[in-house]
């Protein structure tokens, strides 16, 4: 069965896009209306990154909000050496990694808010092998297993995988966010995929 690729995620707005630096400058002067627009611009992506790192909507909500607040407080120190969204991502990612380190043993997932369409998505259904012994596994279980497997990865490996394979960021962008070189990003991604592949072998359709 041929599976359709999931719809591409929207390309993040780049800092050169009209008005962004102006909004940043205004926000640096304390203009909350301008900062509100910046939040709206990135809230979904920041939230999604944090959510896929924590697999918990409540934690993602708190961490994403805290990240935006911290960014506002630190906005005066933003000199424009990197793009605003990279800078913002770094704050959110550091906050999330610190949070995860402090609660390493916590495995608490909330999947109640999954979009209903997920369970009826033909592409997703096709991912479950009809020959595998886990065929009976429901889609919800598949999601749970996927999240459990993700949580088994180290924070750094998980982050690379989330940013690249879930959110569709380029290696270059990830390297900038994680403050490391592209080679490191690639090797971490390969290792993370190998691990995930092994853990999810029973659930993926064999070729």
């Amino acid at each position: 069965m041929i599976m359709a690729e999931p719809a591409p995620i929207p390309v993040p707005e780049t800092p050169v896009q009209t008005g962004e630096m102006e909004l940043v400058r205004r926000a640096q002067k304390g203009d909350l209306e301008a900062y509100d627009q910046l939040i709206k611009r990135y809230q979904e992506r920041i939230y999604a990154t944090v959510y896929h790192m924590t697999s918990n909507h409540e934690d993602a909500n708190d961490l994403a909000q805290d990240a935006f607040i911290k960014a506002f407080q630190a906005l005066k120190s933003f000199k424009g050496g990197s793009s605003f969204y990279t800078w913002l991502y770094r704050i959110a990612v550091n906050k999330t990694i610190n949070f995860l380190k402090q609660r390493k043993n916590r495995l608490h997932m909330s999947l109640n808010d999954l979009d209903f369409n997920t369970e009826n998505n033909p592409d997703l259904v096709a991912l479950i092998s009809d020959k595998t012994p886990r065929r009976e596994a429901g889609l919800k279980e598949l999601q749970e297993k996927l999240n459990e497997a993700l949580l088994k990865l180290s924070e750094q490996h998980r982050l690379v995988m989330v940013l690249h394979d879930v959110q569709g960021q380029s290696h270059e962008e990830i390297a900038e966010i994680m403050n490391c070189n592209i080679g490191t990003v690639r090797s971490r991604l390969f290792y993370a995929r190998q691990q995930m592949q092994a853990w999810m072998a029973d659930y993926l359709k064999p070729t």
């Binding site: 599976m3 690729e5 999931p6 995620i9 909350l32 900062y35 509100d36 939040i39 709206k40 809230q43 979904e44 939230y47 999604a48 959510y51 896929h52 909507h57 909500n61 994403a64 909000q65 805290d66 935006f68 607040i69 911290k70 506002f72 407080q73 610190n98 380190k101 999947l111 808010d113 999954l114 979009d115 369409n117 997920t118 998505n121 592409d123 997703l124 991912l127 598949l142 999601q143 996927l146 995988m161 394979d165 879930v166 959110q167 569709g168 995929r193 190998q194 995930m196 592949q197 999810m200 993926l204 359709k205 070729t207």
Partner: protein
């Protein structure tokens, strides 16, 4: 390798479907508003504990504590170093030592010499003792009956310029 890539392809497709794990509809409508409200109310600062506030002022301390948590060996090494430093300090403190040599002449000596000198005499000692001499001379003047209205106040000009000028 091809198998791996193929399997990675399946895995990537599966992961890509995680994008559909979204919060309930309308969630983001009030998201930015909540953040702005928190910023306005300064709620974030109020909710910080004293420790968090201290850590935000001294982030190196937080990093150190986190390093202790993550690397127990590092914590052990740090504790050992501190203990050694303490032991060394105790041993060093108990060692009999010669009487400490004064780095500078005490001001009493200069004060005495200036007190003995005539108040009208203009003293021009070395540069290093100028300020001391001035202060000492002032303190060795005749006692003043009251702060105001006294007729007997002796005024001695003070020369603050270095000797030879």
């Amino acid at each position: 390798m091809n198998d791996n890539e193929n399997n990675f392809g399946l895995l990537r497709r599966l992961l890509a479907h995680k994008r559909q794990e979204t919060p309930p509809p309308g969630y983001f409508n009030s998201f930015s508003g909540q953040i702005i409200a928190r910023i306005r109310a300064g709620e974030d600062q109020e909710m910080q504990t004293d420790a968090e506030r201290y850590f935000s002022e001294a982030p190196w301390l937080l990093k150190l504590l986190q390093a202790f948590e993550l690397k127990p060996a590092f914590a052990g090494a740090f504790a050992s170093a501190l203990s050694l430093l303490l032991v060394f300090g105790i041993i060093y403190a108990e060692r009999p030592d010669s009487a400490p040599q004064p780095l500078f002449q005490t001001s009493d000596q200069s004060a005495g010499s200036f007190a003995a000198a005539s108040p009208s005499a203009v003293v021009q000692p070395s540069i290093s003792s100028d300020i001391t001499a001035s202060n000492s001379a002032a303190s060795s003047l005749q006692p003043v009956a009251s702060l105001f209205g006294s007729q007997n106040v002796l005024v001695q000009p003070v020369n603050l310029s270095p000797a030879g000028n």
